[in-house]
Amino acid sequence: MSTAKVDRRVDHSHHFSSMDAEHEAGKQGVWLFMATEIMMFGGLFAGYFIYRFKFHDMYIAGGDSLDWKLGALNTLVLLFSSFTMAQAVTETMKGNNKKALKLVIITTLCALVFLVVKYFEYTAKIHHGLFPGFDLWNPDMDYISSKIRDVSILENTSPANLRLFYVLYFAMTGLHGIHILIGIGLMVWIMKRLKNNEFSPKYYTAVEGVGLYWHIVDIIWIFLFPLMYLI
């Protein structure tokens, strides 16, 4: 049993042949895990496209009832956080652990802003009876009519199908939100290690890995935003 702690800043684990090999292996592992995330969220996207095809008009109604300005704000916040995270990786690779720490803190703050905005969005929807579960479904159709682009859409489609839009809205943004929370956890972990100077230009795999995770979370939102809010 390997009881000696390897100082990963300068040396590699015993089963790898070099630090490079270990670094590349770590990255590959994270990329493979990203492929699994694409497949998992992809299932939800598949559900979205299929039900949109079936209930086209209600999806327009549902999309219009969401506040696209808040959605756009969240998109910009996440993009900015992606930028700060990418720069944090760059700084760690250069050995500037302090700068990297500051950038990761900013990334985390952005993530929190995102969640706060979503909290307000969710409570507004629940307030209008649009949460499709727990017997809270009681759609305020006046609210929907006031926001929809063309009221005639509502005339020959049923609110029961509108429910499916909200199912996917809450499921997809909810699962995405959980991933943001996990991301915050990962960033706290990275912050602690940056503070303890556990990284060096030779060893920064964990920072890069968390960066990759965070960018995937961003990419998912890049697709979610137009699908849910805009079209």
Binding site: G43, M93, E208
Partner: protein, 93 residues
């Protein structure tokens, strides 16, 4: 050495600005250009470009080896398969 390419601040800033511009484009085309069902296709196309930008520059795929690119592409390919063939069922019932 592969995997150790340091992406400079300039590149990251440029990438961010490009992404913001594409986001503005997404909103403008969705709100002010009416293509009917084409809006969905256009929005997805722009989103795909944004995703590619993130993958290539923020996620360093531009400087990485083959395996990581294949992993990302595999995810996208098999997802397309799931959606595409399920459509074959639903579109043609």
């Amino acid at each position: 050495m592969s995997g150790h390419h340091i992406v400079e601040l300039k590149t990251n800033v440029t990438t961010f600005i490009v992404l913001v511009c594409l986001t503005i484009l997404t909103v403008l085309t969705a709100k002010f250009v009416d293509l009917g069902d084409g809006n969905l296709v256009l929005a997805m196309a722009i989103a795909s470009v944004k995703a590619s930008v993130v993958l290539l520059w923020f996620m360093h795929l531009k400087y990485d080896g083959l395996v990581n690119r294949v992993a990302a592409l595999c995810g996208i390919f098999f997802l397309a398969l799931l959606i595409g063939i399920s459509y074959l069922d639903l579109f043609f019932r």
